[in-house]
Amino acid sequence: MSAPKSNTARKLVWAAVIALIVLHQDFWFWDTYRPLVFGFMPIGLAYHVALSLVASVVWFLATKHCFPVVEKNDDSSTAESDSGQAG
């Protein structure tokens, strides 16, 4: 189980998660479909597809830098969180 690497990394990842939520509330590309990305995908859709890809990357970083430290008890299926913080 990987422990959090540094407080800075943790803070940056959580800032990225908040940024994802804010960026989702886009009012840009609202009333236009141009440019067409790859010649067929309206920009408003392409933006949100990109957001899905970025979300996956941000969550990957979260699992690397913010994953909760879980201590294993004697019973391998039993575990305990150390700090009450999942991230």
Binding site: W30, H48, A55, S56
Partner: protein, 494 residues
Amino acid sequence: MTAIYIIAGYLVLLLLLGVYSNRSFKGTSQDYFLASRGIGPFLLLMSLFGTTMTAFALVGSTGASFKGGIGIYGKLASSSGIIHSLCFFVVGIKLWSLGAKHGYMTQIQFFRDRFNSDKLGLLLFPIIVGLVVPYLLVGILGAGSTLTTVSEGKVSFAAGSGAICVVVLIYVFSGGVRGTAWANCFQTLVFIALGIVTFFVISTKLGGFAAATQAVIDNEENAHKLARIKIPQLVFFSYMLIPLSVGMFPHIFQHWLTAKSANSFKLAVVAHPLLIMLVWVPCVLIGTWATSAVINGEPLIPTDLKNANDVLGIMVLKLSNPVLGGFLTAGIMAAIMSSLDSQFLCIGSMFTNDIYLHYFGKKEISEKQKVLTGRIFVVAVVLVTYLIALYLKDTKGIFTLGVWCFSGFSALFPLIVAALYWKRVTTAGAFASILAAAVSWIWLFANSNYGSDRSYIFLGMMPVATMIIASTLALVVVSLVTRPPDESTLKKFF
């Protein structure tokens, strides 16, 4: 009838999988309801994804895109990619840890213990079951009506929905949550693959991606569907609160508890947004393209179309062949069943653990008896919901209940977050939050003419926003004015 033969073959495969999963069954209630907490990363990802994606991901997304355009992706798909993973990460892992430590099998057990109140469990139980049952009914009604349509009436609603219920019942009955996880994995792979194949076949027939989009641009009436001009921005933004429901779904809670370790969550957290994208993008594009698709000078979709959910089926029928149509219908059934199975099992588990064993199981009960009780409750839940579905099969409004069920679960989300992270939350605060969620839900639901007004918004936003504000305010204010929880409770959970 080709489609029906393909679907029948698919259902037989599922039955075999269910019977096979029974070979791994260890005979204990822990194994039946939680797979002995032994599910690894890939199966957990597939279980969680298959359970959260219903038929709406295929037919509903296409229909919604046909009606309103590409905005549906941002409203439901990209938001879910962010929020579902957030729920897995912030709520799921912590609950898994506490569940393993204290031996919980259901949400109610956790809340009873966390707030040291039996009555809290009694209040939550009917609310949670009451919100899951309509969600279950939507699945059964969708399966029955799809099979009747595909068979052109040769398979009745009662027979079609009954067959789906029986197949799900058999693999849930025999394999418990392990059978459910295996079936979900298989079914999720099926509906993702079929969605992608369908997308390429249809786009080729429409002359390619660019030509299909150009046809929409050239169509003055529908070109706006390539943007979001007609969607109110506050409605779009407040939609993001609906996926928070995943944090309170009892069937997702049950899947979380099956994880082998905290590490098992990592793949689900990272890959969930990608899988949503893989399923939704093709369907949203097909739906938008369908608005302007023309074959031999005639619109592909009849101008007098009554149900937008039929768009995907019509596109497949007119642009491919009966074999792909059959496989696509099997994919739709897969999406429906991969949610139904977890819901049936979790309601059965709640009746067994939260009612029967909690109130009537004071005497020593063997593991065999616990499993038998669980199975009896699963059979009863399937039978009762099937009979309700038969009774309601002609009630059109039932399909609109889905978003209201989700909103109700979202309104309870502040409670689970506070229970896990806020030491100052009190039992009175928890009661107040649940009651505020319930009262605001009922009031708004009544105001929407009991769901009949499909475009109902309140204060310019989706009703879920008001519900979450009400439940959060009640939780915080009442907690702060009541006595803090005792040290022993805090020590147990923090």
